[in-house]
């Protein structure tokens, strides 16, 4: 009888042990106990949205230690309005803490999508855009990188496996703060992403996918999908330059050809005038 009662008690407590009252205690104990067996499982765990967010914040912090933020509240708000107008029509409209757009004070022509949803566009690229639709095309392309998790996927698999196993090892001493090894791995992950988005650029397939996403997103949002092709045409004309967007993207002519083929299928927007007017009222 007593044995049955003990089993009954354990059955009643089971949900709390799994979900956790404060969560942490139970999980850490279980985690420590199953640490060895759990490593293989953990290594296959994808990066969560919140982890992606914190990596993105750190990448953004590093970008902002390289390029200063352009301090124009009105322009920043306008860029955010355009960005939100396209992001809500993207394949990933609601990342962990939403999208945030900002302008970098540099004449370089570039844009960066940090994992999780922070997106930067340089003043140089803003000045290259002829109208709001082209700005929307840039932002939709970068939103596409966030949606496809191109930045976060540039963290090497070996490093991520190490992160997960280290996180598991640290489970039992979680209240003592993060281990130095985990911070070092975080640092390495930031390096991986930063090198990809700022120095080396994404793969051709990632760029092509982001272009395709951008065209679709522009159409859904009501912007002229042809703006993507117009922007790429300008970039192709400047393709002999060095640095900036040319360093971070594959040959523009190749992308332009693909986008043009895609855009011919969609009808152009007929209401560009008010958008162009408000774009031109911005101090770029």
């Amino acid at each position: 009888m007593r044995r049955h009662l003990i089993w009954l008690l354990l059955a009643m407590l089971a949900p709390n042990l799994v979900v956790g009252c404060a969560g942490v205690d139970y999980v850490s104990v279980a985690h420590s106990g199953l640490k060895v067996a759990g490593k293989a499982v953990e290594a296959s765990r994808p990066i969560s949205d919140s982890e992606e967010y914190y990596v993105g914040r750190a990448v953004a912090a590093r970008v902002l230690s390289t390029y200063p933020l352009y301090q124009d509240t009105q322009l920043t708000l306008y860029v955010n309005e355009v960005g939100q107008a396209v992001a809500r029509k993207s394949s990933r409209p609601n990342p962990y803490r939403g999208y945030h757009f900002a302008v970098l004070d540099t004449t370089e022509i570039n844009a960066f999508a940090c994992p999780g949803g922070i997106i930067f566009i340089t003043r140089g690229l803003l000045q290259t855009c002829a109208n709001e639709d082209e700005l929307a095309a840039v932002l939709a392309h970068e939103v596409g990188h966030v949606a496809n998790k191109d930045g976060i996927n540039s963290i090497s698999k070996a490093r991520w496996t190490e992160v997960l196993t280290t996180a598991g090892t640290e489970a039992a001493k979680q209240f003592a703060g993060p281990a130095g090894s985990l911070v070092t791995l975080f640092e390495g992950s930031i390096d991986d992403v930063f090198k990809t988005i700022v120095v080396n650029g994404y793969s051709r397939s990632a760029e092509a996918a982001a272009d395709q996403d951008a065209v679709n997103t522009l159409s859904r949002a009501g912007y002229d999908p042809g703006a993507m092709a117009a922007l790429l045409t300008k970039m192709a004309a400047m393709d002999k330059g060095s640095g900036g967007i040319f360093k971070t993207h594959p040959p523009t002519s190749e992308r332009l050809a693909k986008v043009k083929a895609q855009v011919t299928e969609g009808p152009p927007s007929k209401e560009m005038a008010p958008r162009t007017k408000r774009f031109q009222s911005q101090k770029l």
């Binding site: 942490v24 750190a58 309005e81 985990l182």
Partner: protein, 168 residues
Amino acid sequence: MRHPAFVRKPVWWLMVLGLAVWLLGPAPGWGETLKVAQPNQSLYPSADYAGTPIGPVPMGAEVNVVQQAGEWYKVEYQGKTGWLPRQAFPQPQTGSKFPLGGILFGGPVKETKSDEVALAGKGFTPEVESAYSQKHPEMQFAQVDRVEATRVDDAQLQVFIKEGGLKP
């Protein structure tokens, strides 16, 4: 004074304790009201982004949660029923308590998320960011906070969309 036999037996005390923890501990909520914590949210007809949004749900709006499916909550808002993504809501506080109704009726809303609560299972956390920031004071986290502070509220965005001849 002589106590009943069950009072003297530890197993009975354990059962009472277990029952108390089970009833008072976190459990799925049924019919729980949650406040939308993110701007620019829309009510979707199904638990994905494919459909045309039913309508906007502003930040701060209170919705009645009736069901959960994966990363989505089925909610009622202003007489409409639709789906909102999990990210629309504030992250749950560890150790928070949930309505008794959810326990009794086995509501489908799983408010406490394993990946949010279990620090042990997480690699990169605010604590890791803080340690990284201390190690690299040159990193401009204050500027990142400033970037994140810029928000476009729902009403403002709707005006912007309308004035620009964009699709609602």
